[in-house]
Amino acid sequence: MTAAAQIPAYRIERSTRASRLALVGFVVAVVALLSLPLWDGEDDLGSIVEICYMLALAQCWNLLAGYAGLVSVGQQAFVGIGGYALFAFTILLGVPPIPAVVLAGIAAAVLAFPTALIVFRLRGAYFAIGTWVVAEVFRGVMGQIRALGTGTGMSLPVAISRAVAESRAGREIVLYYTGLAIGIGTVLMVFFWLRSRQGLALTAIRDSETAAGSVGVNNERTKLAVYLIAALATGMIGALIYLEKLRISPDAAFDVIDWTADVIFIVVIGGIGSIEGPFLGALVFFGLRYLLADYGAWYMILLGATAVVIMLRAPRGLWGLLADRFDIQLFPVHRRVRLR
């Protein structure tokens, strides 16, 4: 090898004190959430499912925009496809609802592939606009399908919601655990991805696409993987959302505000390009919504103002501020060299 340098004794560390504490916190939170129906009744389950799927959508969008540089404003395409696929699989093909949620995610990923072939030819703002246009095309197509209620949409037959569970309370619990599984599953997927060798590639792309290519990272393939996995998770989330709502229409299922704009708020406020950011962003998003529930339009105005201020004052979001000041990481995706 070149220049036989003396190698000092060293050790590579992944976890930090903060991350070990965070792991304890994460486990406690998961146990608390899993046992919640036992001690808190059913009142809060719906809100927690909503937090779970917004967090999962935010983690997916962060992977896209924060790491792969794919600023999509068309993720509602995959929420909508997931929702409609759930209806199609259960009503037209007789698939049981929970397996249909998984199949809906796969359907979204399958449709994401030809979509990628088109939108990946576009760069920057054109990519963003392209994803939106594609979502509108999907909305238009879904509105034409007679078996799925055309433009006015349709309701899920009672027999199918009964297939989730006989009672209303039972359904809430099944949907709660499904939502929890998707939320926690998405966070773990993102974490293990970013921690892996492929995560090193993705983080390199985040920091410099040019340099990533020059050290042998296949940028296009990595980006495609992110796009397809994000579509898979987003499709499952869409299916879950419409299994809970019981009624779907093209306008609601492909809504850019509900399924993409709010998600962008969460990621931008919390901190783009980190796993921790979307958690913090979700906290702020749902906190503001809770505090301002009675003020209607003020909620949207304050949310927008918060996002603008944070974009101007802290381009890497609230988590960026904290991470810079205290040098912490809660999800140990980095490597530290300890010389001995």
């Binding site: 070149t2 220049a3 340098a5 190698i7 060293y10 390199a204 040019t210 020059s214 042998g216």
Partner: protein, 241 residues
């Protein structure tokens, strides 16, 4: 020996500006070639064409006996073309160690844990060990240039392209860099080095290639090239007085 790199009638324009103009060039395996030329002559562009950061408008590029003209940058890197950027492109929010690790894991195509020893060795070689855990974005310009070198070496190149890595160094730093590049060369890596610091270049390379306006101005033995009338006139005009 067969050439490790061969450019055949390569051309590149940016709009109306012809930056590389029907240029042909060969680098023998195991050779160290120096490239000289005034600012804006097209030297960095030449590297970008060889690495695949830019596509040629015309001509062909062959590396290690393969036509790589149509290959993307990552594929050329994996075949064995490593490069440093004149303007460093660190992975700014990743640690210095992780920057080098990315090179070793993807360029050299190895499992992560198998790369650790080599990465530490390269940090020692480039005197960045104490900065290993710092974000690369926090490094000074000179440290960033050393990181460029460490990261390029981590990809285990057969051909190493160095773009102005000696600028701004003190005499002793420059001497250390010369020895490092000599050691890399001695280990069997072919080298193409763009550099304005002529004495550093001549200490390492066996041949010089001078570019002006995207065309070959002179080529051959370093001393003969430096003393040739064209180079004296066009490039070193003032120093020749």
């Amino acid at each position: 020996m067969a050439p490790i790199l061969r450019l055949e009638h390569v051309a590149k324009s940016f709009g109306a500006l012809k930056v590389i103009d029907d240029l042909s060039l060969a680098v023998e395996a195991g050779e160290a070639l120096g490239i000289l030329g005034p600012n804006g002559a097209g030297k960095t562009t030449l590297f970008n064409l060889v690495t695949g950061d830019l596509r040629v408008d015309a001509g062909a590029i062959e590396f290690d006996g393969r036509d790589v003209t149509a290959l993307p940058a990552h594929a050329r890197c994996r075949l064995g073309i490593g490069r440093t950027y004149q303007i460093p492109h660190p992975f700014g929010a990743m640690s210095v160690f992780e920057n080098v690790l990315a090179g070793a894991a993807f360029g050299a195509g190895r499992r992560e844990a198998e790369c650790y020893d080599r990465c530490i060795e390269l940090l020692v070689l480039t005197d960045l060990t104490r900065k290993a855990n710092q974000p690369a974005g926090s490094l000074t310009l000179l440290e960033r240039k050393r990181l460029e070198l460490a990261r390029a070496l981590a990809t285990a190149p057969k051909l190493l392209l160095l773009d102005e890595i000696a600028g701004g160094l003190t005499d002793s730093e420059c001497q250390a860099l010369i020895e490092t590049v000599q050691a890399v060369h001695a280990s069997g890596v072919s080298i193409v080095w763009i550099e304005h610091i002529v004495h550093a270049l001549i200490a390492v390379v066996g041949r010089l290639f001078v570019i002006n306006f995207g065309q070959k101005l002179a080529e051959g033995d370093p001393r003969a090239v430096m003393n040739s009338p064209q180079v004296q006139e066009v490039y070193m005009g003032i120093e020749a007085e």
